[in-house]
Symmetry: C2
Subunit: 239 residues, 2 copies
């Protein structure tokens, strides 16, 4: 298994991604971009990239902020992520840079690409779908569902899977119903799984509720959503 830092760039910013793939496999494989939480590309997103590599995919952990910057302080993360998200064109371009890098790799079948993400990373994935990026699918795990640029009818190419914690205090029900309305009007191919008894960051084993009670790991919802993603990939990557 290969796991290494890989440099790419967007708008003059050097991005330090994390590439993982099984070097024993031959031929071109589907490529999956993994966008992290607002804390930056850290160990959780990297671990997911490695698990995707074990499934036979080429996975690229995307660097949202440049130079591999990570934050431990929630307020600082919100500030930096907020600045990035304020301009939807720049935000989308940051994710597109990761997709372009992935598509350029010799191991990757560029006709079979997907993006997944966690929290802010989920929003990255959904923004790629809204932007009409040439992806087979996107998966959002506890990602924000709002957008400044709603999807346009007939323009979404990616199938969409949203994995949502029903008690997520950062994603209230009005945001959920707004998303459903947006994607229905856009005639996107979408599916949303709502997990009961589940709050924000439910896939993150380090989220123990101390940062805030509404940010907490849920082993069952984590396992279920990973399996849902796995099945989704088998569907969308079928030739």
């Amino acid at each position: 298994m290969t796991a290494e830092t890989i440099a790419y760039s967007d708008a003059g910013v050097t991005l330090k991604g994390f590439l993982a793939y099984d070097d024993k496999l031959k031929g071109k494989r589907p490529g999956v971009l993994v966008m992290p939480e607002a804390f930056g590309l850290g160990k959780n997103a990297k671990a997911r990239a490695q698990r995707l590599a074990e499934l036979g995919y080429v996975a690229l952990g995307g660097d949202p902020f440049g130079d591999g910057r990570e934050f431990t302080d929630l307020q600082e993360a919100i500030k930096v992520a907020g600045a990035l998200m304020a301009d939807p064109a720049k935000f989308r371009a940051r994710a597109r840079a990761g997709i372009d890098k992935l598509a350029s790799l010799p191991q990757v079948d560029s006709s079979r690409l997907a993006a997944i993400g966690y929290c802010m990373g989920g929003t990255f994935a959904l923004e790629l779908a809204r932007d009409g990026a040439p992806l087979r699918g996107v998966v959002s795990f506890h990602g924000g569902l709002q957008t400044q640029r709603p999807a346009v009818a007939g323009q979404v190419k990616a199938k969409i899977l949203v994995c949502h914690g029903s008690d997520d205090p950062l994603i209230p029900i009005a945001q959920v119903t707004g998303f459903i309305d947006e994607m229905t009007k856009a005639r996107a191919d979408w599916e949303m799984i709502s997990y009961g008894n589940t709050v924000h960051s439910f896939t993150n084993p380090d989220a123990d509720g101390t940062m805030m009670p509404g940010i907490k790991f849920n082993a069952q919802s984590d396992a279920r959503s990973w399996l849902a993603m796995k099945n989704f990939f088998e569907e969308i990557f079928a030739k």
Copy 2:
């Protein structure tokens, strides 16, 4: 594979169920009750029971109306089903009779039971969960989510999976949010999958939209929801 009519009863009514299981398998297996649409126990629910038998489960297609009565006219079905559903105690007892029959069978591990259902059958399954029936899980496919007797906190034993067509005209969004509210307050273990571009009866290959446009098969949502159920069963039936 064995597939046969099996008689049982509820409140003096003779019910004609449909039992399917793999007779080559040894030992006790999980048992799954399959409750049909309001048209009665017909070929679709029977076919699902047979597919469950192929997965290694003992499946009982339940007879909702007695004597295996089936209807082809929608208004007649609504009338008979409506009369049955009007009394929640009787409605629940009708499903309980199926569970009791299933639990009594020598092939069935009575500690590993589940109920699934389609349309009205989905409501049967959910009512069993609300009633605190001793089930590992229930799955509703395009089932009505309303109830006269909301679940009581701490009383729901079954894990719940709801597979819902987002454009189902018979199950409006207010019913969906009401269900989420009910199950959250009841602290039930629940999960809901909403499928975009999907209306009522999406699992029924005979639903071609001629009865009404909002009653129509959707091959992708059918396949996805069946797979979700399969994975759910692997989780809940694990020893």
